[in-house]
Symmetry: C2
Subunit: 143 residues, 2 copies
């Protein structure tokens, strides 16, 4: 068994990302779960918790916890969907919109960190590769 | 901001891996945290909790919880270190040794899943790339 197997390296990369995020998010009173949720909402404001669960590949109870926390922290609010009265749509408050650029730059910076010393071609190849690995994983799990 | 940024793809890959692991580990009464700890012990039996924490880049309280669970499930036992009377070394029980091959094959299988449809050269390139990303992350966080 290879010591640095892809599976293990991915776990390690994920943990490094988590350490980075925790440090960066301190001033915003945001946890990592809330970060990804907020990040998705900047791109798709008004989506439902159900959609968030699919988009982030996280189970509904985890999403529900993050939504509650973000609501308490004043970053989001919920509104009954006009199309489906059993679903809540989630919207960003002014407070959340204000920190949007900073939140985006946290992720941009991490992507820069990861690609330190790599050429444009290498970065593109890395990107293709990660998509390939994710597709392989998704295809297998869907079977 | 790219929708599929490296940071996001890595998180997604990690979550896919977690889903896979959870399914595979069901028959063994093992959680994912315990899996990695056990996996490390197959390679370095007798290491201390401190070493495990460093090796897995997880904080000490997380390691302590996994150690306790593995102990209760009868997979490991602790022994006071002869070199350092404040540290515990961790050893595998017969029960753990028996399932060693199956545990290893869970990870091997996942690595196969991830590299579906890739040539040997592509797999080697992927491996180099993941190491490069992990090194970049580690270097940045150590600063």
């Amino acid at each position: 068994m290879q010591k640095n197997s892809p599976g293990k390296l991915i776990s390690q990369l994920f943990r490094y990302g988590r350490i980075y995020l925790a440090r960066q998010l301190e001033p915003f009173d945001l946890g990592k779960g809330q970060f990804w949720l907020l990040f998705t909402l900047y791109q798709k404001e008004g989506i439902t918790q159900e959609d968030l669960s699919q988009s982030l590949t996280l189970d509904k109870s985890t999403i529900a916890r993050s939504v509650t926390r973000l609501e308490k922290a004043g970053y989001i609010y919920r509104k009954l969907s006009e199309r489906d009265q059993r679903a809540y749509q989630i919207f960003l408050t002014e407070k959340a919109k204000k920190i949007g650029p900073q939140i985006h730059s946290i992720l941009l910076k991490w992507n820069e960190v990861l690609s330190t010393g790599m050429s444009k071609e290498e970065i593109a190849a890395a990107h293709r590769l990660l998509i390939k690995l994710a597709d392989n994983a998704a295809n297998y799990l869907d079977k």
